[in-house]
Symmetry: none
Subunit: 240 residues, 2 copies
């Protein structure tokens, strides 16, 4: 039991820009069914959120759901951020893993806080949302009809995560970096690159690229600290 | 490939006395997502069935769903009938298998037509419905909140049935960085750090630390290229 509880305690389910109160409620119900406690909503349609929260039979999960204005804030305390997608070609930017494989990886990983991101009903996760992700999970749906209902997608993912009693590595020798630290490192690198003329101000594509690069490169909390220290000093020198 | 198609072709999903058109539509959508074609409804609330069928975006599965008056008729052409339940004590009458185990048994079985029964939203399957079943499947939900939403339960069961033969996307081709490239990046980073005063010249321990850091951080050839480009530009600026 102890082992199984771990993955449940570690995962935060993050719904990005959900629009339909029924879907929000269904997602919360799936969390409750499978024993996950932590639901987060980013930029939810306000009315939908209130309706879902006040619905008859709303679970404790729904009542305790947290709201955030941005993805960055919602994942700031998470060491690993996983996006979900129906697309097959996102692997251009991110490793894309089938749910069964990704679930195994999550259960065996040593991240203490994992954010699992689900996009809005209409459009899924945007490229900006995805730029906060370390890698992506795909539920193996049919090519002709890949896009799942939001509540069902959440249920399937949580079922898979809770499916097996995972074997966890003995010791966490290298705690991974948290989102907020990665963001600080990204900012410093971006500032250095702008000062050097490597990239221009206000290019969203550049920002997303840097965010992904930093997430691939700074894998542990310790390394993130070291990189921050180096970049800070380099920046200081460049500004002189 | 053959086997994958088989389980999908062999299973009939049977909703017994469903009441909510949204749930019927969601069940149909899950069938479509996972490539199952055969939806059957027993004693559905007539209005709910019509609404689900005429809903915008109703899948082909929904349009081709068959109606039956009784469970007996709905499973008449099936060799194996499996009930789904949230209860833990039905095994008094039937073998009760966790979904993962039951799914494996279904995939390996040789029944050409399998009926998978789901009960109504409020009451699940009645004892009479269950009396048509050979054995039962239970989705491993939490004891304190076992009962799933109908559409989500169907999605989770079909995901499990289709799970093992899920297609893996083509292998990701991300060749790792070669030693020489890592060394070049290490040199550039070291030069930048010396120029900034972060570390001193000729410290072997610093050199080794940097080499290890670069090897942990620049994991692919592509990323090593990007980091080299960034560092080169930063160095150029620092030397001005």
């Amino acid at each position: 039991m102890g082992k199984r509880n771990l993955i449940r305690d570690r995962v935060r389910v993050v719904l990005v820009a959900p629009r339909n109160p029924l879907n929000i409620g269904a997602a919360a119900r799936a969390l409750s069914n499978f024993g996950f406690g932590q639901l987060r909503l980013v930029n939810a349609y306000e009315l939908a959120f209130r309706e879902a929260r006040s619905a008859v039979g709303a679970s404790d999960v729904m009542k305790q759901a947290e709201e955030f204005a941005t993805v960055a804030e919602a994942v700031a305390d998470c060491e690993l951020v996983i996006g979900t997608t129906a697309a097959r070609k996102r692997q251009l930017h991110h490793p894309l893993r089938p749910l069964a494989e990704g679930g195994k990886r999550l259960r065996r990983g040593n991240s203490r806080r994992v954010a699992l991101l689900f996009g809005s009903e209409k459009r899924g996760l945007s490229n900006e949302d995805l730029s906060y992700c370390h890698w992506l999970i795909r539920i193996p749906t049919r090519e002709e009809h890949p896009s799942m209902n939001l509540g069902q997608a959440v249920a399937v993912c949580l079922y898979e995560l809770a499916r097996e009693n995972a074997v966890r590595p003995a010791a966490e020798k290298t705690p991974p970096a948290k989102g907020a630290e990665l963001d600080r490192a990204t900012e410093m690198l971006r500032d250095a690159l702008r000062l050097s003329g490597y990239c221009k101000r206000g290019s969203e594509i550049e920002d997303e690229k840097l965010r992904r690069l930093i997430r691939r490169s700074l894998t542990t909390a310790e390394d993130a600290q070291v990189w921050q220290g180096m970049l800070r000093q380099i920046l200081w020198k460049m500004r002189q």
